[in-house]
Amino acid sequence: MGSATTTELAPSGVEGTIPVTVDGQALEVKPGTTVLEAARMLKISIPTLCHHPAVEAYGACRMCMTEIEVRGKKRMVTACNFPIREPTAIFTESEATKKQRRGVLSMMLARWPKVPVIQSLAGRYGVQNPGYQHPLRNEAPDACILCGLCVKACSEMVWEDVIAFAGRGAKRHVTMPFGKQSERCTGCGTCAYICPTGAIKVTDEKNNPVDPARIRKYGFRLTKEMATLDDSQCKMRRVGTAHLVEIMDAYDLLPTHNYKFGKHARIAEIASPVWTSLVRQNVPDGCWVGCQMSCAKAVDDFVPRTGPYQGKKVLVDGPEYETVASCGSNIGVFDPHDIIELNFYCDTYGIDTISFGTACAFAMECYEAGVLDKRKTGGLDLKFGNGPAALELLHHMSRGEGFGVIVGQGIRQMKRIFAERFGGDPRFLQDIGMEAKGLEYSEYVTKESLAQQAGYAMAQKGPQHDEAWLIFMDMVNKQLPTFEKKAEALYYFPMWRTWFGLMGLCKLPWNDVEPEDNATRPEPNKVPGHVEGYENFVSGMMGGEYTIQDILKMSERVYNFQRVFSIRMGHGRREDDRGPYRAMGPVTAEEYESRAERYDGQLKELLKVDPAGRSTAEKMALLRRYREEQYEGVLDAVYKRRGWTRNGTPTPETLKGLGIDYPWVVEVVKARMAEEGSA
C-alpha cells in the first residue's frame, strides 16, 4: 500500500526516463537533464566557456549553441541550460550548430584575438579573424572574456560575493566594488582556478609552495564539494556545528545535567533552527585561507542582561555545538539568550566554554546532592537550569571573588576542596567530576562507547575529542567489536588527527563534508578521497611524494614525544589514562533507572546475570565491575598496538622504530620502566 501511494503522488514522468539521441546515438535520461549533460554522458564534446559543473548554468557565452529537434521542430538552444523534458534529438555537429558557434567565436576573436582557449576553439571550427576592427580589441593572452565564472564561483561556491559584474553592455566588466581590493576577499584563489584565461592572478605566494597548481587542484575540489554537497550533508555553511545538537540528542549522546543523561525533553528550545534564526550565518571567519566552510557564526546586536556589558549591544561569536551543550543542556539551561550570554562572557574573560560549562555542571550536581549549599557558594542558587546563577558564577570567576575562586581552579581542585572543606564524599566526587589529566571533558556522553571512553581519557592533553571520535563507529555501527579493533582505531585516528595540528589545519574539512563517492569507497570513515587530497597538499607544498604512511609516521613521532614529555614531567602513567566512572556508566540509581531496560539487557546478555529481583544498587555494582574490567582490557590492547608497556610507556624499541631513540629520550623511558619494575 505504502509504495502504491508514493507512485500516485510522484510527478508524472519523473520516475520514467526520456529517450534522447545525440548525433544518432541513443540514450535515456532523467527529465531535466541538460543537453550538455546528455552529450557528456556519451563522451560527446560540446564546447563551453561560461559553464562549470560546480556553479549554476549561466548561459551567457553562447558557445554551446546546439541544434535540437523536439516534436519534429528544429531549434537552436544553449546546451548548458536547456532542460530535456520530452524526446529530443541533439545534433552537436550539424551545419546550423557549427554556423552559430563560428559566429560567436568570430565575435570573441575580434575582441580577444590572443586568448588561447578562444584561439583553439577558433581553430577547431575554422574561424578566421573578422574584417572589422573591434574598438575594444584586447591583445592580451590572459584577457578577461566576461564569462562570469569567477563571479559565480565567488558567490555560489565561496559565498563571499566579493567579485561582481559592473556596468552594462559594452561597459560590462568584472571587478571588486569600486575597483578596490575587498576586505572580505580571503584570497582563496577559487576565482583564479576557475578562470579559463588566467585573467585573475593570485599574487600572494608567501609560503612559496613547490607546486601551487597541485595544491589548488585539490583545494578547488574541496571548495566544489562545499558548494555542491554541503547543503545535503552537514550544512556546515548554513547551520554550522550547531546542527549536531538535535542529532546528539536523538542518539542519547547530548550531555545533560553533568553527563547524567544523553537527551532532554526541552531539546527543541536549543536545537539548530533556534540558532539559525538568531545567528548571522556565513560570516567569513577567515581562519584558513581558502576554506569555504565559513562555519563560524555570529550574533549581531546582542544585549547582555548581566555583567559589565549589561544593556549594551555586543557582537558574539558562535555558539558552536560544544558551547550549546556545555553552557546549555549540561547545566540544564535551555534559554538561548543565557547560552549566548555565557558564550559572550567566556570569550570576553578568556575562559573556555567547555571547561566552564563542565565545571559548572559539576558544581551544580554537588549543590543538588547536598555537598554544597548557598552558604558555601556565597549565595548562588546553583540548581541545574539556573542560567542567571551560572552567569553570576562566571562573573565571580572573572573577578576572582568568592566561590568563583574555587570553581575557577577547575574540577580536579574542586574535588579536593569539596572533600577537604565541605565534607563531600571523595568517591562520589571522583565518580562525577568529569575531568581527566586535570582537564574538563568535552560534550559527548561516552557511557555506551568503550572506545570513546578511551578516546577521551587516553588523549594526551586531556579528555577532549580532538584525537578521536569513535562513538558512531563503536556504539552504533558496531564496527569495533573486539579490543584489537578498538585499539586499531585508537591508534590510527589519534595519529591522523594529530597531523592536523602539526600542519596547522582544521579537522572539519576532512570529514564534515565528504566526497560524492565516499560511501562507495572502502573505509568511508577515513574519507579516503580527502586523505588523498592531504597527500597531494603535502607533496605540492614540500615537493616529492608523501603518502598517508609518511603522514602517520610524522604524527607518531610527535605523539610519542608528547608521551615521553608527559613522563618526564611525572605523568603519563596508566592511572592518568583512566577517566571518572560517570564517563563509563551510571553513577547514581537515577541514571541507572532512567535507562533500566538497556542496562538490564546488558546484564543478561553480556554478564549472563538475571537482573530480576536484584536491587538497583546490586545491578549497578555488577555493571560497574564489568565495565571497569572492559576498560582495562582496552588500555592493554591500545598500549600494545602503540608499542608501549602495560603502564603506557613507549619502549626503546618503539622509539628506535620511529627513529627518535635519542639517548636523552631513551633515558626518560628507561627510568620510568625501571620504576615500574618491568624493565
Binding site: S232, C234, Q479
Partner: protein
C-alpha cells in the same frame, strides 16, 4: 542490522528503518547484503527478510 536483530515486515524500506531507529545523522552509508544503497534511494529501497543491513555513521563534528 548492525549486528542486532531488526523486526521485519513486508514493505519495510531503508527510510523506515532509519526513522524508527532515530538515525537522523546526515552522513550515513547504508548497505544491504553488502550492496551499497545510495542516499537518494533510501525511501524507495525495500529491506528483504533476513537481509544483513549495515548502517554506517560517518564521523563529523568537533
Amino acid at each position: 542490522m548492525n549486528d542486532e536483530p531488526l523486526p521485519w515486515r513486508a514493505g519495510l524500506t531503508v527510510a523506515d528503518v532509519l526513522r524508527e531507529r532515530e538515525f537522523v545523522f546526515p552522513l550515513l552509508v547504508v548497505s544491504i547484503d553488502g550492496v551499497h544503497v545510495p542516499r537518494d534511494a533510501f525511501a524507495a529501497t525495500a529491506v528483504p527478510d533476513g537481509a544483513v543491513v549495515v548502517v554506517m555513521h560517518l564521523m563529523s563534528g568537533g
